[in-house]
């Protein structure tokens, strides 16, 4: 599609963007968007197709808001963090590389980072470098209607993997990832040495990697 044609599509869809739609019910070209995987969705985002943003939201808003609520426990700030994370993906979509990971992983990492920023009172600009797509090669979800089933299975596997860790390793990982604590703060909180905290994090993540890789859930 030529640039001019792409802009015409972008402009037309932008005008339609505020119209309410049901889940996966994007109108017009949205049917293509709704049926596509991450790569197709990212291409539509780059083209400025707001139906694609609506589709991304419909797919992952519940998960994104769940992550923000887990970190922040505050509906208002969670709402802001989720909006900023979606806007980050919208603005940076051209940097998406399907080889490095899924849109979902990128989005959720952004939600988590924004939420931690709120928790720590940091401005988003201080994290700009980290807002680039992380190398998170978490498998792209299959198209509907299996997406939700697959997500449910993935959730169960990750929870099982976390539950399989020794309590102190699980605690170190959760305090860092969902609590936003630094390793020094965790060391102080748990009254163990910094080296021990680092070791627990490393061992825990290595075990999770082995567990999930064994179930084909991370592409390593």
């Amino acid at each position: 599609m030529g640039r001019q044609a792409a802009e015409e599509v972008a402009g037309r869809r932008a005008d339609d963007a505020a119209k309410p739609r049901g889940r996966g019910g994007a109108g017009g070209g949205g049917h293509v968007v709704a049926a596509g995987g991450d790569t197709e969705l990212a291409a539509e985002l780059v083209a400025g197709n707001q139906d694609a943003l609506a589709e991304l939201y419909d797919r992952y808003a519940g998960l994104a808001y769940g992550v923000a609520m887990r970190v922040l426990g505050d509906p208002g700030r969670a709402e802001d963090a989720v909006q900023e994370a979606f806007m980050n993906v919208w603005k940076q979509a051209s940097s998406f590389d399907g080889e490095r990971g899924s849109l979902r992983a990128w989005l959720l990492a952004s939600v988590r980072n924004r939420s931690i920023d709120y928790l720590r009172g940091r401005g988003a600009h201080e994290r700009r470098e980290e807002e680039l797509q992380p190398e998170v090669a978490y498998g792209e979800g299959p198209p509907d209607p299996w997406r939700e089933v697959a997500l449910s299975l993935e959730r169960a596997a990750v929870r099982d993997a976390m539950a399989s860790l020794p309590a102190e390793q699980r605690q170190a990982i959760e305090l860092a990832y969902f609590g936003g604590y630094t390793h020094s703060e965790i060391s102080d909180m748990t009254r163990v040495s910094l080296g021990t905290v680092k070791g627990r994090m490393r061992l825990g993540l290595e075990k999770l990697s082995s567990y999930l890789r064994g179930r084909g859930l991370v592409d390593v």
Partner: protein
């Protein structure tokens, strides 16, 4: 310290790094090291795969219904993906409205702004006292405009006096607009083109109180751009870097 010892020390922190558990200086040190260390880079990539899976364990929570509309309105305002200025929309533009140009106001109007500002404080206080009667949200609404990119330190509080059909904007942290430049305030409907609402120049401290002599009802987003002095532009000439929802 030998290179080997240094490497061992840094590799021990890779897990904390990918979990976001290092202070920024430590994170920068290990990031720089990983650039040139294949071993640490490989470990980081492997562990990041796992960290990327962690949020999947969280239960989904249905967000407030308004969030979807907020997001799409903000995306429409940003126009970040189209690389076109806001005004290049193909829908018909709304007719330009008279501006409340605080930067060019006559003295009586500037005095009026000051009086309104004082009255706002009184009114908001009164309304807060009446909150139990459920009237506050019917008369006054407050919104925040947030700066991004090179305006990340700027913000504005918007007080929408619905009953009076005006809004008061309290800007903070604005950088100087530059020689022969002004800031211009735009109101963006959910569908349609941005409407110019005011032009102004902040004071030396980056602050300014601006009166928008227009009701905010029907608009989704308020945005600010940097435009030529003294009158600004009839259409935005750049992507806004200070904006927020007003619906």
């Amino acid at each position: 310290m030998s290179d080997g010892t240094r490497h061992d020390e840094l590799e021990a922190s890779v897990a904390a790094w990918v979990l976001g558990a290092l202070e920024p200086p430590e994170a920068q040190t290990i990031a720089a090291h990983a650039e040139g260390c294949a071993t640490c880079r490989e470990v980081a990539v492997r562990l990041r795969h796992v960290v990327g899976a962690l949020p999947v364990a969280v239960d989904e929570v249905t967000p407030p219904a308004r969030l979807r509309g907020r997001l799409l309105a903000a995306a429409a305002a940003s126009r970040g993906r189209t690389e076109r200025p806001i005004a290049m929309r193909r829908s018909p533009r709304l007719a330009p409205v008279p501006r409340s140009a605080a930067g060019r106001m006559p003295l009586y109007a500037m005095a009026a702004v000051a009086v309104v500002a004082l009255l706002i404080g009184v009114l908001v206080g009164q309304i807060a006292a009446q909150r139990s009667q459920g009237t506050a949200q019917e008369q006054v609404a407050r919104f925040t405009l947030t700066g991004h990119e090179d305006m990340a330190g700027a913000k504005a509080t918007v007080v929408d006096l619905k009953a009076d059909g005006v809004a008061l904007l309290d800007f903070r942290g604005l950088p100087p607009p530059g020689a022969n430049r002004v800031y211009e305030v735009w109101l963006v409907p959910a569908q349609g083109s941005p409407v110019p609402a005011a032009v102004f120049v902040p004071d030396a401290g980056g602050g300014k109180v601006v009166l928008v002599n227009r009701a905010l009802a029907g608009y989704a987003v308020m945005a600010v751009t940097n435009e030529p002095a003294p009158d600004g532009s009839s259409q935005p000439s750049q992507q806004p870097r200070l904006y927020g929802n007003v619906a």
